[in-house]
Symmetry: C2
Subunit: 243 residues, 2 copies
């Protein structure tokens, strides 16, 4: 484990999310997974099935993060352009990969089933490592620090499970949640003072509406359990002092 | 209505989404709203409560889209830094805005309730127009093509309703969905041929898993109802030919 936590970005590729037709659940899943292994997710982007947009996002996000995870666009149809976009972003070639063809042949032993469309799923940028997938056999791949996953949640999760153990896990960020039973505006100033007195933790304030009207969840996060406990106690003392 | 559709981006600001603790629902809501009024959502980004990240995303997204909508980070607490970040992105000053103070005074007639924290919600970048909000009274604001909304969904939705009629609505993108009852890999090549023959529509293919295993939804989208109907008929004929 390194002292500087690894960082990550997620790139969700898909018109259907931008049209509002489909709700993306993959980024939330990856977020929780990374939080659990101590990697800081810094950014999520959703872009359309548009090569220029995908290439630009890949290059921006891979340059500034330890890892980039993409989801979507690696299926057999004409609108699946992620693999070609990754090859373009890296400036490398792409072709049918014999290892990937062999994986597909395992699933489709009948030659007629391994048609032109399905063979598109074996198009892998040069230099990439394959990411096996037990659900559908069609692999994802890794090129340098970019992990290319499917968009179907069950397949994406299988691929993440496959590569998870290879990631540079760090010290997990611990969190405590305190329900304030107070409106955000009534605790803002004293809460800011608690944050100032506890610089080793991050204190977030999240308003929500319940049967009594506006209420607030206070979430305290830190990699240091003692700092976390001290800040939580300070938040609780602050809230008790208001009653 | 202009011939070139307006475009938009959404910037979700909030650590709690990146930690996986909270699922963002605002971007999906805005996506559907924009689709209904014929505005093309091009990108969604989620960034942390970090001024440099917010400023960079605001400037990138406002430059390349007709509109940018931000959600989150305009409450009364220390972690609410969106208004200051917008001011910084535009290079303008920021201070308590008398119009915003008056709105808050309406909700908090008792001077003791309009404390330092709540007054933070009246800090508005110079030159911005306020966006009223019937739920909590604390306003959002618009600066040039950037609309700054709250993160609480009910308040965000009220703000979007407020500004919706001022947006450059376009011709709505119509869509038809066809359940293929076939695996994506079995229809990929003929579906690609249908897309090629119908360049005026966008045909998307979305695999999903049902009780019979992998299945596919085909979604056809176009602003032209005749082109849409013709492409849908071609997709249905293609599927019938496979049976």
């Amino acid at each position: 484990m390194s002292n500087t936590p690894a960082t990550a970005a997620v790139l969700v590729i898909g018109d259907e999310v931008l049209s509002g037709r489909t709700r993306d659940s993959n980024s939330g899943y990856i977020a929780q997974y990374l939080t659990n292994i101590g990697i800081d997710l810094k950014e999520v982007r959703v872009v359309a099935d548009d090569e220029a947009a995908i290439v630009e996002a890949i290059n921006a996000l891979r340059a500034r993060n330890t890892y980039l995870f993409t989801t979507g666009g690696i299926g057999p149809t004409h609108d699946d352009i992620t693999a070609d976009s990754v090859a373009k972003a890296f400036g490398v070639g792409i072709d049918h990969d014999p290892r990937a063809v062999a994986m597909l042949r395992e699933r489709f032993p009948n030659a007629a089933d391994l048609n032109e469309g399905r063979l598109r799923m074996a198009r892998i940028p040069f230099g990439a490592d394959l990411i096996a997938n037990k659900v559908s056999k069609a692999p994802g791949f890794r090129l340098e620090n970019v992990f290319v996953f499917a968009g179907v949640p069950s397949i994406m999760q299988a691929m993440l499970d496959e590569v998870g153990p290879t990631l540079a896990a760090g010290v997990k960020v611990l969190s405590e949640s305190v329900r304030a039973d107070a409106k955000e505006g009534d605790i803002a100033t004293p809460l800011g003072a608690v944050q100032k007195a506890h610089p080793g933790v991050a204190i977030g304030s999240y308003p929500f509406v319940d049967e009594g009207g506006f209420n607030t969840n206070i979430v305290i996060r830190s990699r240091d359990p003692e700092a976390l406990a001290a800040a939580k106690a300070a938040v609780e003392a602050m809230l008790a002092g208001l009653r």
